[in-house]
């Protein structure tokens, strides 16, 4: 079985005989038995730490959750600085969490969460910060200032949490380079290993924004009301 791994300069083909193995097992065997210089990150081996996200045949996967096929082409995540081989620098992507203020700002003492409340954002808090969604997002590709999928999902997690006493502040924070910049293309949802849809979370945040008195800037900025000559919406 051959796999092609993107190295510093070019793709390198490796032969491995490991039937039914995960990509992480294959990479580890290459590293320890064939080529000690191959660089990649891993940790938990069980899809929960987010270390081993990379691209296989141009799609984002977790190496520890992907079974290798003959001929697979392995590359690092896109839209993120590559440090070496399959290792990327997540600092900048993680910085978006800070800019988006994805944390509980003020604890609402009165809030009593029920079993149903728990369900509202259980999925969002399953995010493992693997960065796959940033790699897949076409907006993040062209605008580094875009807060991006996982940060916005994080914002929704807190906006929808009864324990947050100041959800409005979060809504204020995500108006520029935030909810309105997303094209709702859904690429982030398709690659998320945790089944999270940032797109859906962004739609919910847009609704909350509208309720808070904000409007889609692309809608208000052009006096035409955002409609083209034929009257169809252009956003």
């Amino acid at each position: 079985m051959k796999v092609h791994v993107k190295r510093e300069s070019d793709f390198v083909a490796y032969d491995v005989e490991l039937p039914d193995a995960t990509l992480l097992e294959v990479l580890s065997s290459i590293k320890t038995e064939q080529d000690n210089s191959l660089a990649f990150s891993s940790g938990c081996r069980s899809s929960v730490c987010g270390s081993c996200s990379m691209r296989v045949n141009e799609k984002e996967v977790l190496a520890c959750a992907y079974k290798v096929q003959d001929g697979d082409v392995i590359e690092p995540l896109k839209n993120i600085e590559v440090i070496r081989d399959l290792v990327v620098n997540m600092d900048k992507a993680l910085e978006t969490k800070k800019r988006a203020k994805t944390w509980l700002q003020t604890y609402n003492k009165e809030a009593k969460l029920t079993h149903e409340d728990e369900k509202i954002n259980a999925l969002q808090s399953d995010c493992i910060l693997c960065g796959s969604c940033y790699s897949a997002c076409p907006v993040y590709a062209v605008n580094e200032e875009f807060l991006g999928p996982f940060a916005l999902t994080g914002v929704w997690k807190y906006v929808s949490d009864k324990r947050e006493a100041q959800p409005k502040e979060k809504i204020d924070t995500i108006q520029t380079n935030g909810v309105w910049d997303c094209t709702l293309c859904n690429e982030c949802t398709l690659v998320c290993p945790q089944g999270i849809s940032s797109k859906a979370d962004i739609e919910k945040l847009r609704m909350k924004s509208t309720m808070a008195g904000y409007a889609d800037p692309s809608f208000t900025q052009s006096f035409d009301g955002g409609f083209g000559f034929d009257g169809s919406p252009s956003f």
Partner: protein, 507 residues
């Protein structure tokens, strides 16, 4: 680079310590060889103990007694009392900062029963308890502007002439440069050492005991290194953990004949030995949760189903899950007092790398997440207190300039493959320093370690590049693991009688 409190490790213990030290007014810097959110704490599934009595009657006293019993006389009662009494506060704090704990229909924090507990006591967040706690702590650190550096590797601690600690020698993995991080004190929160068992461990690849080895080199005392907890239900091929909650919720253990052979809810050491006996007798061992039903499994044990499918090609809804007992948690570590102070001035430790004498010879499921929060906070407070109260801190950072391991490395040859040795070491430890121990086998292991240590200069690294050299990092880890192995074997040899996880048979 200077700071008040330098924290090595950003798991639950490190981040909690950072928040506590920051709240106490100290400047704090956290360093990790991964990213904070990738620390092993994210892997904890089962839950975190606190006697809240939300599901059925429970009391702090029961929690204390269960913990002491499981510790086999090796715990410090005062420390255990403190930890168990603080537990409800710790959970309340986590809830206040946003952890999404699962709830009961009445809106209380839900609790499940783990092995050795007299009541359902573990608070959980589906089976992502550690992940949700760790990420929430990380977000809290972002909120509080805690300085965090990722992908920086602790090589050694920096010591002054008088032996006290004044910082750490750090390898910046991205640039390949060495950095001196000076601090008025250091908190080690670098995790456990179960990876010495290599593929016979549930742990993250990062749990190589680096901090413990560095502390020991700097003169800190270690305690209880022979106590390694084996978890009954690692997946047979990959050793990936199937959470204890699977048994807590009613799963059975079966042998190849389909017979149950042990009390599934006994403490881990007993269950692991029972499993081991079966395997030695030629049986295969399985976990059976089929009777819990698909809906229940998908709601409460979704990770376990996913992992069994991926790594064993079995669907727990209709198949048995093949398992074996594997190294999971290390009770031993850097000896600390109730204030998390080690035997070396200026050095604190918390979390799995430390020994706060709360687990003794055998840890109860759910007590580790509790420990990292309770004593993480203690360590942070004590470190800040040290910074503000201890005169030694006013001194300059004139550390003893010694040749570091990395300087010596340049002359190392590359004749023996350390990756192969790492695999062999894991096998050796699983067989000879594992669930059942015999003096003769411990002696054999001891000799083997001595030999490997001698051969270290023949192992070296093949990759000589600077940027993100994981070959080099893994070699430094291997060196640390050898140091740790030596300590585990010598402590095991010194303890002649069985005690909890350390089980000796006469020959």
């Amino acid at each position: 680079m200077k700071t008040d409190v330098l924290i090595i490790g950003s798991g639950g213990a490190g981040l909690t310590a950072a928040l506590a030290a920051k709240d106490a007014g100290a400047d704090v810097r956290v360093i990790t060889k991964e990213y904070p959110t990738r620390s092993q704490t994210c892997m904890a599934q089962g839950g975190m103990n606190a006697a809240l009595g939300n599901v059925s009657h429970d009391s702090i006293e029961d929690h204390i007694q269960n913990t002491l019993k499981s510790a086999h006389g090796e715990a410090d009662e005062e420390a255990v009392r403190y930890m168990c009494s603080e537990a409800p506060n710790a959970v309340a704090w986590l809830d206040e900062i946003g952890v999404c704990f699962s709830r009961t229909p009445e809106g209380k924090i839900a609790q499940r029963r783990l092995g050795g507990a007299s009541a359902p006591r573990a608070c959980y967040a589906q089976d992502y308890t550690g992940l949700k706690i760790l990420h929430t702590l990380y977000e809290r650190c972002l909120k509080k502007d805690v300085e965090m550096f990722s992908e920086r590797y602790l090589v050694d601690l920096l010591t002054k002439e008088d032996g006290s600690i004044c910082g750490a020698l750090i390898l910046n993995m991205r640039s390949g440069e060495l950095e001196h991080h000076f601090a008025k004190c250091v908190v080690l929160a670098s995790g456990g050492y179960s990876r010495i068992y290599d593929k016979y461990s549930t742990n993250s690849t990062a749990s190589t005991g680096d901090g413990i080895a560095a502390a020991s080199r700097a003169g800190a005392k270690l305690l209880g290194m022979e106590f390694v907890q084996f978890h009954p239900t690692g997946l047979k091929n990959s050793s990936i953990l199937i959470s204890e909650s699977a048994r807590g919720e009613g799963g059975y253990l079966l042998n190849s004949k389909g017979e149950r052979f042990t009390n599934e809810l006994a403490p881990r050491d007993e269950v692991s030995r029972a499993i081991n006996e079966q395997i030695v007798a030629g049986e295969e061992v399985f976990l059976d949760i089929r009777h819990l039903g698909e809906r229940f499994i998908d709601e409460n044990l979704p990770q376990e189903r996913k992992l069994a499918l991926l790594y064993e090609n079995v669907d727990p809804v209709k198949d048995l899950i093949p398992i074996k007992a594997v190294a999971h948690y290390t009770m031993g570590g850097i000896e600390v007092d109730n204030k998390s102070q080690t035997s070396v001035s200026g050095l604190f430790a918390c979390g799995e790398c430390a020994n706060h004498k709360v687990h003794g010879a055998n840890r109860l499921g759910g007590n580790s997440l509790l420990e990292i929060i309770v004593f993480g906070r203690e360590a942070g407070k004590s470190a800040a207190n040290f910074v503000f109260c201890d005169e030694k801190c006013q001194n300059d950072f004139d550390f003893k300039k010694e040749k570091s391991f990395l300087d010596a490395l340049i002359e190392y040859k590359n004749e023996i493959d350390f990756y192969q040795k790492r695999t062999e070491l894991g096998e050796l430890f699983y067989k000879k320093v594992g669930i059942i121990r015999k003096e003769s086998q411990l002696q054999e292991a001891k000799q083997e370690i001595e030999l490997l240590k001698k051969q270290l200069p023949l192992m070296g690294v093949k990759d000589t590049s600077k940027v993100y050299n994981t070959n080099l990092m893994e070699f430094i880890e291997f060196r640390n693991m050898l140091d740790i192995c030596e300590r585990v074997v010598s402590s095991a040899l010194a303890r002649k009688k069985s005690c909890g996880a350390h089980f000796v048979v006469e020959e």
